[in-house]
Amino acid sequence: MPDLYGEAMRFLTAIALTWMTAAAGAFATPGQPTDGNLGFQPAVTPIMERINEFHNLLLWIIIPITIFVMGLLLWVMIRYNRKANPTPSKNSHNTLLEVVWTAVPILILVVIAVFSFPLLYFQDEIPEADFTIKATGYQWYWGYEYPDQDVPEYISTMVAEEDLAEGQLRNLSVDYPLVVPVGATVRLQVTAADVIHNWAMPAFGTKMDAIPGRINEAWFQVNEEGTYYGQCSELCGIRHAFMPIEVHAVSQDVFDAWVAAGPGSDEANAVIAEYSAARETRLAQLD
């Protein structure tokens, strides 16, 4: 049986926390979900920034529409209930009104479209890339290859709960992460070996199906150093929830050192670990 009292307390604490975070304004760690938050994860690529802006615009449209409909409903419920209005009118036509509620939504949709298409084309047209990463989905792990750096495919598997090291996240951390230099434009090629998977990274705004027999392309450019987590986003069988994606955005020289150390090896991981530790201290000093 669930511990009801504990649940209730956690419920209340969490509500309080949420309101505090909401009040403090997006007090979230980039690259991972923050408990109780309401919106997108912080954007770290140009694509995600634009998605975020466009989504904010949409919120400014859909929330007022919803409130408008709710307001109308409340109004008719108050003004035209049987007590307030015992004799109903029999009117059932009003051409002007009908034209208005056809035309205004069309205009709103045109506005949406005007902002929607540029975003779509921005995402979809891949700019001149600095290098390519090839990601292959397997049941149930990812394989990464850096053809331009001659890095052969290495396998990236979730860290089991009992093996989690200090600072690693349950269901999100992997043994051999993907590493990219900050600011580099990366062309991502995705495919799969068995069933469909999907390479999804919320902080990047990237989500691309990995389909056997096809190669799909996407791109991203990470603007901030850090560690970002994503998850397989197409149902692929029993361990669908357990093939996460971890990307480290590092400086160019650390990236080079990582490539030289042979990605997919403990040496390469050591390069990243050292770098992250240094960064933590740096950040701590800044505070």
């Binding site: 995600m48 859909i62 049987r82 109903p88 036509h93």
Partner: protein
Amino acid sequence: MSADAATHDDHTPSMWDWRRWVFSTNHKDIGTMYLLFAIFAGIIGGGLSGLMRWELAEPGLQVFNNGFWGNEHNYNVATTMHGLIMIFFMVMPAMIGGFGNWFVPLMIGAPDMAFPRMNNISFWLLPFAFILAVMSMFVPGAGGDMGFGGGWVLYPPLSTSGHNGPAMDLLILSLHIAGVSSILGSINFITTIFNMRAPGMTIHKMPLFVWSVLVTVFLLLLSLPVLAGALTMLLTDRNFGTAFFAPEGGGDPVMYQHLFWFFGHPEVYILILPGFGIISHIVSTFSRKPIFGYLGMAYAMVAIGFIGFIVWAHHMYTVGMPVDLKAYFVAATMVIAVPTGIKIFSWIATMWGGSIEFRTPMMWAIGFIFLFTVGGVTGVVLANAGVDQALHDTYYVVAHFHYVLSLGAVFAIFAGWYYWFEKIFGVKYNSLFARLQFLFFFVGANIIFFPQHFLGLQGMPRRYVDYADGHAFWNMVSSWGYVVMLIGMAFFFLVLIDAIIRRRKADANPWGEGATTLEWTLSSPPPFHQFSELPKIK
């Protein structure tokens, strides 16, 4: 026996005569069987969603932890079967088979359906299809694990090479049979509506519920056979070595998605259009006003049905389609908001100036209008391929479609249920319990599904048995919402028990002068065969 039954045609056969039901050729009896079947399926489908919400209540594996309920695969099976059962065995039978069968003939002044015997096979195929679906949960699916766990959309290769056992084959044939049932039902409704309207009832005098069923069954008739084709391809890929979706033989898994969604998108309007019809009647009845903009309402549904056929690939924005194609589907999809908006505003305009009485069905109907709008506008968000890239396959989508289904279609079903309950069963119900059910459903369903928008925006993927710890809070809230909803379900059963025990005789028209359609001119329940003399419509 048939000669015997024929002479007894004119008075109602005993309720306890099994042949009355099994051999039925009476649209009202068949409609009742559909409704009871939908309730039964709804309980199973709702139970599966309970297992899911229980599992997701907190991080880690609570339910599907290799114990009684099986492992992570069985979670996927529960999700898959929840989706399929709710759609094919709950909403469709309730709306089209149940209310459609009951009220299309009554509203157009017909004595029965055009093909009364075919009507019965449309019904009886369903329980057998349902048995096949349930059987599939208990035979090997993927490896040694029982059941098919590849999502209600049945995407290959997970549904072909990814599930080698017979579970998927049983499921395919279950859907084939359910599909045949719906196609036969559609033929029946189209013929009935075109041919059996009472003298004077022109197509532009037809009640809106009849219009909604007409559009719905056209969508079924034209989209289900394509699904049947796709399912057959899955079957031959699995068993006879064809290469439709097998890349090693030149096939393409994406082609399945096109075929599926060519059916799947019309299907979601199939699920909601009859609801639109029901809501129109209720809003007009309890506002004591004729429906506002009748023609606009009717043709908005026709427009929704038509556009519904040309937007399917908005479910496939991440499969790697050419960008111009995506742009087309963005534009086409958003267009649907226009006729849908016409419906929403016409309902409100019907209430405007009315004399609104908040009887039970009206509460559900107003709830529907609001909640459907919430679900609709998030649909418009998803229609934009640019944002969908961030939201596809996250809980945002789950929130969207439960707002239109579990809070849209289901609210419409309950609205219709309480609108027509007395007409169907001939007894009154306890409206206090029914209102309490509404209250708990309204609150509960919002608590379940509203936070799922936040989960989706934070990036929580769908079809996950276990999630990152950063998603814990809103999942907990959502699961508590389920408990609230369950209390609502308890009131639903209380209403039934109360009605069965007290058996208060219902009036022919409990709603007064606002209720103008033909079914209210008949007794409650109507005679076994109504309209022996066809009504004349001025």
